[in-house]
């Protein structure tokens, strides 16, 4: 079955993990809030696993979903 993702961001080689010195890759992550989970694909460090949430995503889609869930 195809993997379901609510959101995908490909770092396209423009993001680098400062600690590990490697480029971030498109990786599997999930958002969790108030007992709800959403699988997504975000820039992830293949070595240390740092998951990056860009500003536009945090203040856009993430905020909208947070607000929707808060009123559930």
């Amino acid at each position: 079955m195809a993997d379901k993702n609510y959101y995908t961001i490909d770092p396209l080689g423009k993001l680098r993990c400062v600690k590990c010195g490697v480029p971030l890759e498109k990786g599997k992550a999930k958002f969790l809030y108030l007992d709800n989970g959403f699988p997504v694909e975000l820039p992830v460090c293949p070595v240390c696993g740092f998951v990056y949430v860009p500003e536009e995503l945090a203040l856009g889609k993430v905020l909208a979903v947070e607000k929707a869930l808060e009123d559930k």
Partner: protein
């Protein structure tokens, strides 16, 4: 410190906010949907208010349509209507009532008859006979025809014209002709020239299901008959009839009679389930202060179109919107308290699904203005407060709208908290309680006030820097509110339970919930002691904004005015002052939960005057100053201080800490250990603006960077050239965008946060 987030969206707990009876009693207080006085007075249920409005807009067709709805033969009715509406017109008490009767005639004269005459209806199988002529039987025949009963009229008159004219001598020939034309369109069957005697009537019982009699005929043929007025029915003789007087009453009784026929035709008792009939009592309230046109447009017979429009424009369209006029919150949601209460009640009762009213519940400033402006004291704040507590109790209250404020309160009552007796005293007669916002916004003023009180009052003045608990109370967090109350009680007991000198009316109100605590306002004390040296008012006239915390507290409102007078301030009159004052937007945590509505509240306060504003609550002072208005707290004038430009959220915390540190050192010779950053930290202007907007503290940024220094974890974005670090603090993840400075420092360009947790997943 952390406040627990609600656990899950899957909460199936439910707690009744109000009993059904309580809800109905509350809703009953809102009279917005009560009928206007003229509408309530009309036995025929004419929407006179809508008719007059239509005429005022020149819409005679629309006006006529409304009138045609109430009567089968509107021309004769309008010619002879007694207009009970006029006597109840609100303008009648001030000058001339609106000439509704003349406007009805104008509607009939200048409006076009509605084209759609209803759908073709099947005639009913039950039949009715109407005996005699005159207005009552004429209207009744028309009403029954409207109800699709086959009607046969028995009358002495030789023809239709003579039948119509009987008892309608008051109506002009055109009206008679017009209604005659309407009558011809019906399929009412006429038996003209009938010899109307009791035998004829009784003989028809076999042919018709219901028999109806004109009043005159009833009196002569059945002199001992006792028709019930309410039903228009003589049970003994099984006759539908009555004894009405006048045109309007005839039309009304004909309506009642038609309903009785309807009931009888269905073999039902005519007295049951008739619904509301006739004029009603209205509980409407209407403010008539804006009514200016109090003299009627002279009427020579009938109005011309223009005269009718002019007369109709005098109507003030009676309605009650006292609450909404002064409240930005109600204006924002454009709902009246009755509707809003019901929706909030339903919202609280929802087990699953979207809670659409969470935002309105958290957007009210709980200021109580509506409880004063409403003629029946409807308090929306009380309902929203109750709903918040209910949501907290059932774990359905999201933390996000109030978390920053609650954390700020915990900060006030922990790191920034200070409770000390005056140096040289163990127990004190007084304790100064300036309030958290005063210490955050105007620390110099707080300091000056405290030193002044110490100097001029005997018996010792202790100092208590902290939050009164209003914040958690407003948030509906009743457990935290209880804990805060107990905590403050313990601290006050340590000081020997002194008299509290409150610096803020909201604190004064909140602390009044503590049993056995004596509280006075600093304004009362200052009036008693006189102004200190250096006190001076403003050079120009100023508007006084009354704090919502002082609503219902005439003593405080008067004391502030006396203080302003003593300071030589010339106060300008503003609408909505005193008990009717609106909230600045801070109350009820609106400023945190709903910035948009809070902004509208502030604008509503400021639209009352162009002058500088003087307030006696530091939150009001702050919000007005943020809008660029010259805004001063009365204590700034008393102590000759100027808190200047409003501080940002980080500065507000810093001010509280610094005030505590300075006072500890200067008065009690206690040194506070200073936390020094071991790295250089700078912010761009844009970063500071974004942080204030996004409610991110400098302390949050420092916490992120401190972790970054330990773990080395960060991302470098080649596009922007910025490095980005993050840290989970409490219920949110904070991200900081920066450029590293030489020597290990940081220049912060931006910061943002989200509440969702993010983690890697496998598969």
């Amino acid at each position: 410190m952390i406040i627990e987030e609600r656990n899950s969206t899957h909460v199936y707990k439910q707690l009744r906010m109000l009993s059904k009876e309580e809800l109905e009693q509350l809703e009953g207080r809102c009279v917005h949907e009560q009928p206007a006085y003229c509408v309530a007075a009309c036995p025929l249920k004419l929407d006179a208010k809508a008719l007059v409005q239509a005429v005022s807009q020149g819409d005679f067709d629309g006006a006529r349509k409304l009138y045609e709805k109430i009567a089968p033969f509107p021309h004769i009715l309008s010619a002879g209507c007694d207009a009970p509406c006029g006597a109840k017109c609100k303008l009648a008490g001030l000058g001339d009532a609106v000439e509704i009767r003349a406007l009805e005639r104008a509607a009939m004269a200048y409006g076009q008859r509605g084209k759609a005459r209803g759908i073709l209806r099947m005639k009913k199988r039950k039949t009715a006979a109407v005996f005699g002529s005159g207005l009552y039987s004429f209207f009744l025949a028309g009403e029954l025809n409207k109800k699709a009963y086959p009607v046969t009229v028995f009358c002495q008159e030789p023809d239709l014209e003579a039948y119509i004219s009987a008892e309608a001598g008051f109506a002009p020939a055109e009206a008679l002709a017009a209604d005659a034309a309407l009558l011809r369109e019906t399929d009412i069957v006429f038996r003209f020239g009938a010899g109307l005697d009791r035998d004829l009537v009784e003989a028809q019982r076999e042919k018709f299901d219901v028999l109806c009699l004109s009043p005159a005929l009833y009196s002569s043929l059945y002199p001992a008959g006792k028709a019930e007025e309410a039903l228009q029915y003589d049970r003994e003789n099984r006759l539908v009839t009555g004894r009405p007087r006048g045109v309007t009453e005839s039309a009304f009784c004909a309506k009642k009679a038609a309903l009785t026929v309807d009931r009888l035709a269905q073999n039902l008792d005519p007295g049951n389930t008739r619904g509301e009939e006739g004029p009603v009592e209205t509980r409407l309230y209407t403010d008539t202060s804006g009514a200016t046109a109090l003299t009627r447009v002279p009427c020579q017979g009938d109005y011309t179109r223009e005269e009718a429009v002019q007369e109709a424009r005098r109507c003030i369209q009676c309605r009650c919107d006292e609450c909404i006029k002064g409240c930005a919150y109600l204006q924002h949601y454009h709902k009246f308290p009755r509707v809003l209460t019901r929706e909030i009640y339903n919202n609280v009762s929802i087990i699953m699904g979207d809670h659409m009213m969470n935002k309105p519940i958290n957007a009210c400033s709980l200021c109580g203005q509506c409880s004063v402006t409403c003629p029946n004291g409807y308090d929306m704040g009380e309902i929203c407060h109750l709903a918040r507590q209910n949501m907290v109790a059932t774990d359905k209250m999201p933390l996000a709208p109030h978390e920053f404020a609650l954390m700020d309160m915990l900060f006030s009552n922990n790191e920034a908290f200070l409770c000390r007796p005056q140096p040289g005293y163990e127990a004190c007669k007084y304790v100064f309680f300036p309030g958290c916002q005063a210490a955050a916004i105007a620390p110099e003023t707080v300091k000056a006030a405290y030193l002044d009180l110490c100097r001029r009052l005997d018996g010792g003045v202790a100092l208590l820097l902290g939050c009164c608990g209003a914040i958690c109370d407003w948030a509906g967090r009743y457990e935290l509110a209880g804990q805060t109350k107990d905590f403050l009680d313990r601290e006050l007991a340590k000081l020997g339970d002194p008299v509290v000198i409150a610096g803020c009316p909201s604190c004064k109100k909140q602390l009044s919930g503590h049993e056995g605590l004596e509280i006075v306002g600093i304004w009362d004390v200052l009036l008693h002691l006189g102004l200190p040296e250096g006190a001076h008012g403003l050079e120009r006239p100023a508007a006084l904004h009354d704090s919502c915390g002082a609503r219902g507290d005439a003593g405080t409102q008067e004391a502030i005015r006396s203080l302003a007078k003593a300071l030589g301030v010339e106060l300008v009159d503003t609408p909505y002052s005193g008990d009717r004052s609106p909230c600045c937007g801070y109350g009820g945590l609106t400023a945190y939960a709903n910035r948009e509505v809070a902004g509208e509240m502030t604008a509503k306060c400021l639209e009352r005057s162009d002058a500088a504003y003087i307030s006696y609550c530091m939150a009001c002072r702050d919000r007005f100053a943020r809008q660029g208005r010259e805004s001063r707290h009365i204590l700034e004038l008393v102590y000759g201080t100027d808190a200047g430009a409003p501080p940002d959220i980080s500065q507000k915390r810093y001010n509280r800490l610094t005030l505590k540190k300075e006072l500890l050192w200067e008065l009690w010779q206690e040194e506070t250990k200073e936390m020094k950053l071991d790295f250089d930290l700078r912010f761009t202007k844009e970063a500071l603006r974004l942080m204030d907007e996004r409610m991110i503290l400098k302390d949050d940024v420092i916490a992120v960077l401190e972790e970054q220094r330990q773990t080395g974890e960060a991302i470098y974005d080649a596009d922007s050239g910025l490095t980005i670090a993050r840290r989970r603090i409490g219920n949110a993840t904070f991200w900081v965008k920066y450029t590293p400075l030489e020597g290990g420092g940081y220049l912060v360009h931006s910061a943002y946060s989200h509440r969702m947790q993010v983690e890697r997943r496998q598969g």
